[in-house]
Symmetry: C2
Subunit: 397 residues, 2 copies
C-alpha cells in the first residue's frame, strides 16, 4: 500500500542536514556539530550507586509504574532547585517530562491551531522547530543582537501578527547563538506578552552553565499573569541519558500538559526518576555544575582563542557567557553548508552545524554553530586550526 498521511505530516520532514551531520559522526572527523555535554565529566560512580539503590527499593517500586506527572519527591526537589534559582514554586507546579524536548511538543499541541503563529528568535533552536511542526504553526521571527531577541522588533512583529499565540525563547546562552537575553529585554518581553495576551515558552537547558557575569532572573520569575511555561532539564547538568526534563507553569496550563503527557507516553521512566531523586538527595547538584562550568569555560576559551588565531579576521563569532555554543558569521555570499560538504568534511576533517537550518523562514547560508563542550581542548585546537587553514585556502586559493 501507499499510505495516505494526515495533513499535519506535511511539514514533518527529515532534517535537511541529517545526512551531512551523519558524516560528522565518523571517528576520524573532529565534530563540533552535536550539542553534547562532555562524557568525561559524567558522575559515573555516583550514578552507579543511585541506580543500584533505586533498583533495590523495597517492593520494587522503582521498577514499577509511577504517577504520570512524575514522582512526587522528584517534583519537590525540582521545585526546590527552581526556588533556589529565584523562581519560587512547589512540587505541584512541576510536571516531569521526557526531556525538555517533550515540553516543546506538548506546549505547541496544547496551544497552536494550524496557522497560528509561533514567534521565535531568528535563528532559533532547530529541535523546537521540529517539535512544533506537527502542530502546523506559522512562524514570525525576531532578529537578535548581542543582548538577545530585539524586543523593539518583537513589538513591531506582534503589532502586525494578530494570530501570534506564543513566543518561544532560549533566554540563557541561546542555541545556536550562545547569546543571553538582557535584563531590560526580559522585562520588555514579559510586558509585550501581557499586552498581546500571549504565552511565553521559556526553554532553559543551559541556564546553569554560566562562566561569567551574574545570573539573570528567569522569565518565569518575572511573569505576573501566569503566561510563562518554563522548561528545564537535567540533560546538560547531569546526563542526557536520563531523559528528565520538566515544565513549571500555571495550574490550568500544567494540568493540560499533564493530560497530553499521559496520552503521549504514560510517564517518564520510574527508575530514572528514582535515581535522579536519590542523586539530588545525596549530592549538591550545583557543586557538580560548578565543575562543569569551570571545564566548559576553559573549552570556550580554547575555542575562541583558536578561532581568533586561525580563522580569517572577517569571520565574527559570539563570545558566550555560558552554554555549549558559539555562532560564526561568515562574509556575505559564503555558503557554510556547501563549504562543509566540499571542504570541511573531506579536507579539514572537521564538522560543525551549518547555520541555515536554524532560521524558521529565510535561511541565511553564511553562519555556522560550533559546539565547544563535547571535545577535548586538544581536539578544539587541532580542529579549529585545520578548519582555519581550509578557510584561508578557500579565500586565497
Amino acid at each position: 500500500m501507499t499510505p495516505e498521511f494526515a495533513q499535519r505530516m506535511a511539514g514533518v520532514r527529515p532534517s535537511a542536514i541529517g545526512e551531512l551531520l551523519a558524516l560528522g559522526a565518523e571517528p576520524s572527523i573532529i565534530s563540533f556539530g552535536g550539542g553534547y555535554p562532555d562524557a568525561a565529566l559524567f558522575p559515573t560512580d555516583r550514578l552507579e550507586a543511585v541506580f543500584r539503590d533505586a533498583i533495590r527499593t523495597p517492593g520494587g517500586a522503582a521498577l514499577q509504574y509511577a504517577p504520570s506527572d512524575g514522582l512526587p519527591r522528584l517534583r519537590m526537589q525540582i521545585a526546590a532547585l527552581m526556588t533556589a534559582d529565584g523562581t519560587p514554586c512547589t512540587g505541584d507546579d512541576v510536571l516531569i517530562l521526557q526531556g525538555a524536548q517533550q515540553g516543546l511538543d506538548l506546549a505547541a499541541r496544547m496551544l497552536v491551531d494550524p496557522g497560528d503563529v509561533i514567534v521565535t528568535e531568528d535563528p532559533t533552536f532547530l529541535g523546537a522547530l521540529i517539535a512544533f511542526e506537527a502542530s502546523q504553526p506559522a512562524y514570525a521571527v525576531v532578529p537578535m543582537d548581542a543582548e538577545g531577541m530585539q524586543t523593539d522588533r518583537l513589538a513591531e512583529v506582534l503589532a502586525r501578527t494578530p494570530r501570534a499565540r506564543m513566543i518561544y525563547t532560549v533566554p540563557d546562552f541561546q542555541n545556536p547563538t550562545g547569546v543571553t537575553l538582557s535584563l531590560a529585554r526580559r522585562h520588555a518581553l514579559i510586558a509585550l506578552a501581557n499586552r498581546h495576551d500571549l504565552i511565553v515558552l521559556e526553554d532553559t537547558p543551559y541556564r546553569h552553565i554560566r562562566f561569567s557575569g551574574a545570573p539573570l532572573p528567569t522569565l518565569k520569575s518575572l511573569d505576573t499573569e501566569g503566561r510563562v511555561i518554563h522548561l528545564g532539564s537535567l540533560s546538560k547538568v547531569l546526563v542526557p541519558a536520563l531523559r528528565i526534563g520538566w515544565a513549571v507553569a500555571a495550574p490550568a496550563l500544567l494540568a493540560r500538559m499533564g493530560l497530553l503527557k499521559v496520552a503521549a507516553d504514560t510517564q517518564t521512566s520510574t527508575l530514572n526518576m528514582t535515581a535522579a531523586s536519590l542523586f539530588l538527595d545525596r549530592h549538591d547538584l550545583m557543586s557538580h555544575v560548578a565543575g562543569l562550568r569551570a571545564a566548559y569555560a576553559r573549552k570556550r576559551d580554547a575555542m575562541l582563542v583558536a578561532i581568533r588565531r586561525h580563522f580569517p579576521q572577517d569571520i565574527h563569532v559570539t563570545e558566550p557567557e555560558g552554554g555549549l555554543f558559539t555562532w560564526a558569521t561568515f562574509a556575505p555570499g559564503f555558503d557554510a553548508t556547501a563549504f562543509m560538504r566540499d571542504v570541511a568534511l573531506p579536507q579539514a576533517r572537521v564538522a560543525y552545524v551549518p547555520g541555515a537550518s536554524f532560521f524558521p523562514q529565510s535561511p541565511r547560508p553564511n553562519h555556522a554553530r560550533f559546539n565547544f563542550s563535547a571535545r577535548s581542548e586538544a581536539d578544539i585546537h587541532t580542529g579549529i586550526a585545520a578548519l582555519g587553514r581550509a578557510l584561508h585556502a578557500h579565500r586565497f586559493p
Copy 2:
C-alpha cells in the same frame, strides 16, 4: 490570564474514573484496578548487574545521547525476538519507542485527520482512546465475543464508514476483556483491511503472557500489503520502569513515526536501552517469561475460582488464556461505577476498574475489569470474597 487552548484539546479531558482510581491506591484497599505486573517477579539482581555495567560503558556512551530511532543493537535484538515469534524482520524494521503507548499517539498523529474514523473493539483499551484523542478522531466500534472482534460486524461497520482510516486491536488477551482474536478472524481482519485500504494498529503488550493454548500468528505476520503497524513492549515481560516499547512497520510508515519520535522527545533513555540490550544479551527473555506465565496462570485460576465461589451466579466473567485481566458482566441495570463508589470501596475495601470508560461511544455501566497479576493469591481470595459478600448484600439487602 485565562488561556485559550488549541481545538485539538477539546477531547483531551481528565479521565472520568481518575478520582475513583486514586481512592483505590490507598494501602487499606485491595485493588484489582491497575494493569500492573507483579513486582515480586522483577529480576532485580539481573537488572542491577546490567545497569551497573551499562553505566560503566567505556566513554560514558550509555549516559550520552543516542540515535533517536534507538540503539542499533537493541533494534536487532527486538527484531530477533519478533522473528522467533513468527514475524520475521530486521533491526531496520524496528523503531524504539517510549513504551508502546508512544506508538499509539504517534500512529494516530501520523494517520488521522480530525474527523477520520478509528475502528476499535468495543470495549477497548482506555489508554489508546486517551492517546488518540488529541488527533481528533471519530470512532466506529465493533462488538466482541469469546473469539474477539466480530469480523462479520467489522465488515458491516466498514461498509458504512467511508472515513475509516485505521483498525485498532489488541488481539492477544485484550485489555479490558482478556479475550483473544481467533485465527480465522485474524485472517478475516487482514482481508478487510486490504479490501478497504486501511491501516491496522496491532497492540501486543500481553502477547507472551500465555497460560494455555497455542500462540496465534501476529497480524503483522499475516500482513501481505504492509498495512500493519505492530506495537510491542518490555513493560509486562521485563519491567514497566524501562519505558521501552517498539513499532515494526513498513519503511514509509516507520520513517514517519521516527520523525514524530524525534519531535516528541528526541529519544528513549540511552541508559535504559543499553541495560535492556545487555539483559537480552545475557539472559533468555522467554525463560524469564515462562516464570511469569506460571505465576500469573496461578493468579488467574485463584481469581476465577474465588469469583465462582463468592460472586452471585448471574455475573459472567471471561476465562482468559493469558494476560492480566478478566472482564465481568453484571446484570443489566447494574452500575459498576456507582457500586464501586458506594459499596466496594467504602465497605468491601476493594477496587476494580468500572467498565464504562472502555467503551468509545456508548458506555455500558454493567461491566468491570479485574486485574489478577498485581496482587498475591491471598489478597485475591480475600478481596474477591469481600466483594462477593457486598454483591450478595446489594442484591438481597
